[in-house]
């Protein structure tokens, strides 16, 4: 069930009430209840994939226990390898089988050979990219002895399937989330209120910003061959806000829902479009995934240590894998590749850790230009992310830079929004800018009720309800 659906609006209050009024006295029942409702939540999408998540959970639970019972390096390696191979194997099969088959066939056709290999009609289990990485973080941390394995299977299963973050993150670390299942949660009013406000903000980002932009973005991408440069640029910018509003909105709802149940999840977005360079952008965008890759891929490869060749190699590996994680399409790999190209100069000149704090109010012209430049680079890369094929992406970009195609007034007119959307996006940027020292605008107590009621009102009148759009990251 989608977070912005009537189903979830009914599901959550029921879960909340049962959790805090029926099962709250016992830790075991609290966790068991979360397991049951999480599987119910997941099964709502497609009950057939419950078996898969159950199997992954059981496998890694057992492997965790076995890791604790042996000090033999080879046995421990074997156990970890088993966990990685099985989990990545499932992910690879469901997500990438057809991609590899199609490209294999195409590669052979370049040599004049045609192969008769059938692709399969595979449905991608919702959330597999997320919970797979989450369970892997457990087995890897247990292997590294950073975490003691648990023999409480209920806690472990609850950690894997915890419904607020099950289908689209944040990808939690076992070291952060699992210990929270060992202690009975006690209702905390401030935490619950903060969670509620975060849910409201997340819904605004998704239903007003993301879904409004989506209407324009879809129309622009479907007709890009006939549109002028300015419209295409606008389309790319709107997509930047669509994907940001969509994904960060989802994360906010996930984190907010978790707070309602007494859990603290990691922050997933930290105003990425106010970044002054690409390195800062990647410290602020999809933080749970980028830190996962940093800790479990980049650093084991050597990170930024080693010679220049190794540094370059590591950067490309991390961004290409990150791109590929998003989907079985060359466009995602191209997106990752571009980001690697952006990042590399900063790393090689040791400027990748230059902007560690949030940009201040005393905004210099240099900072402003840096932010605009960084934003432009990310928007350029988003064109590949959004396009169906590499060719489409290149055609799109070619039309943008075709100056014969430039018109001052956008030729695109859609019933719902034209100039209004631009104003809405600017309004959103101003709100975020104003509150960039907080996790969300409602954490600042000044004019809290006015802000809350205004956002609720705007969500009512500007929200896209008619075209029930799924969250973009569900497809990953």
């Amino acid at each position: 069930m989608l977070f912005n659906s009537i189903d979830f609006a009914v599901f959550l209050p029921i879960v909340f009430l049962l959790y805090w009024f029926v099962v709250q006295k016992s830790l075991k029942y609290q966790n068991l209840f979360l397991v049951v409702v999480s599987y119910l939540f997941y099964g709502w999408w497609d009950y057939r994939f419950l078996a898969l998540i159950l199997f992954s959970s059981a496998l890694d639970y057992v492997i965790g226990l076995k890791l604790s019972k042996t000090d033999s390096r080879s046995k421990r390696r074997l156990l970890l390898t088993t966990s990685i191979l099985v989990n990545i194997g499932f992910l690879g099969f469901f997500k990438y089988y057809n991609f590899f088959v199609d490209n294999f066939v195409e590669a052979f056709s370049l040599f004049g050979k045609s192969l008769e290999v059938n692709t399969l009609k595979i449905i991608l289990p919702v959330g597999i990219s997320f919970y797979t990485f989450q369970t892997l973080s457990y087995t890897i941390d247990v292997y590294r002895k950073k975490l003691k394995p648990t023999n409480d299977w209920i806690s472990f299963f609850a950690f894997v399937c915890f419904f607020p973050q099950l289908v689209a993150g944040p990808i939690e670390r076992a070291t952060n989330l699992l210990p929270q299942f060992y202690k009975k949660r006690v209702f905390n009013k401030d935490m619950a209120l903060d969670g509620t406000r975060l849910i409201i903000w997340g819904l605004f980002k998704k239903m007003v910003i993301a879904d409004s932009c989506a209407v324009y973005v879809n129309s622009i991408w479907d007709n890009y061959e006939t549109l002028d440069s300015l419209t295409l640029v606008l389309g790319a910018v709107y997509f930047a806000f669509q994907i940001y509003g969509d994904f960060s909105g989802y994360s906010d709802i996930a984190i907010g829902t978790s707070k309602l149940l007494g859990f603290n999840l990691m922050r997933n977005f930290n105003y990425p479009y106010f970044s002054r360079d690409i390195a800062e952008f990647w410290r602020r965008w999809h933080i749970s995934l980028s830190t996962w890759f940093r800790d479990y891929v980049y650093i084991p490869l050597g990170g930024s240590r080693g010679n220049k060749y190794q540094q370059v190699r590591n950067v490309f590996v991390i961004f290409l894998v990150s791109g590929f994680w998003h989907g079985a399409n060359w466009t995602f790999i191209a997106w990752g590749f571009l980001n690697a190209l952006y990042f590399l100069p900063l790393l090689l000149t040791n400027r990748n850790r230059k902007n560690l704090s949030t940009v201040t109010n005393n905004l210099s012209v240099r900072d402003l230009l840096s932010m605009l430049a960084t934003f432009s680079l990310t928007v350029f890369a988003w064109v590949f992310f959004r396009s169906d094929t590499i060719q489409d992406a290149f055609q799109f970009i070619k039309r943008v830079f075709d100056f014969e195609n430039f018109k001052l007034i956008s030729s695109l007119s859609i019933e719902r929004y034209s100039m209004e959307l631009l104003l809405l996006v600017i309004f959103f940027i101003v709100i975020e800018w104003r509150h960039r020292d907080y996790e969300h605008p409602f954490q600042e107590n000044k004019y809290l009720n006015i802000k809350l009621f205004t956002i609720i009102l705007l969500t009512l009148i500007l929200g896209v309800y008619s075209n029930h759009l799924e969250f973009i990251y569900f497809q990953f």
Binding site: R416, I456, L460, I461, S466
Partner: protein, 293 residues
Amino acid sequence: MIGFAKRIATLIIVLVIMAYALDAIYTAIYNSASPRTKTQYVMQLNKTSYDAIFMGSSRVENHIKTKVFKDNDLKAINLGMSGANLNENLLTLKLLIDKGVTAQKIFIQMDHNFENEAISKGVTASFLPFINDSVVASHYKQQLDSYWVNKNIPFYRYAVNDAKIGLREITMNIFGKKPRVPLDDGYIPLLNSMKQGSYNLPNQVSDVNKIYNKIEKLKSDNNLNIIYFTAPFCENTKNINYFDELKEKHIPELHDYSRLFNDDNMFDGCGHLNDKGAEKFTNKILGDFYGKK
């Protein structure tokens, strides 16, 4: 927990108040603003008399050039709505009767819409602001799955149909932005000439259409002069003899103009005439039913 519950209750109360207030504001605006849609126009009609009223889908909206009637001193209105099914024609007819609107002749487009008894989601959205009207309410009560929520949950219908009747449309109503075409005329011309169009009609006629039966009942109960007609299709239309079967099976009095034109220059697309074709077709109607040339 009590403190939290109080805050949540406050938020819910504020949300409910906002929903009620917005619903009242939107509904009042749709009821009183200068009409921007044919639905609004019909809802604001009151005891008017016409020589001819045309109802149907875009195959009326783009086909009946009302100016031709006006040029012949006849009062006509084109109430064709793009996407409308027979179901919406029935509702429009009920509203016209309720509002005391009379016509010498009421032309209802009848083609393969005979195969469809369902409501049209897009056109239904335009009627939802008026769901508290007794005629509209009784029409949708048995037909609209979400009737109860649309009627009783404040603002729900405006939120769910935001693209059609949401903030943008309300804003245009407030600022009196003129509709695409004058609504007392209702004709929207298509300006292209077709190149190699085709159309597929169903290969058989349904045994029954309950909506048609209801229109017939209204016709007899209110002594209406309803004329069923089929607007032209292009020559490259498969199963064009569908209308012969429709005439034979259900509507012997059907005026079948489906084969009126074999010149593609009259068409914008195989199922739609362009402005030139619409003018010729309207003149044909005028000649056949009003003796005018």
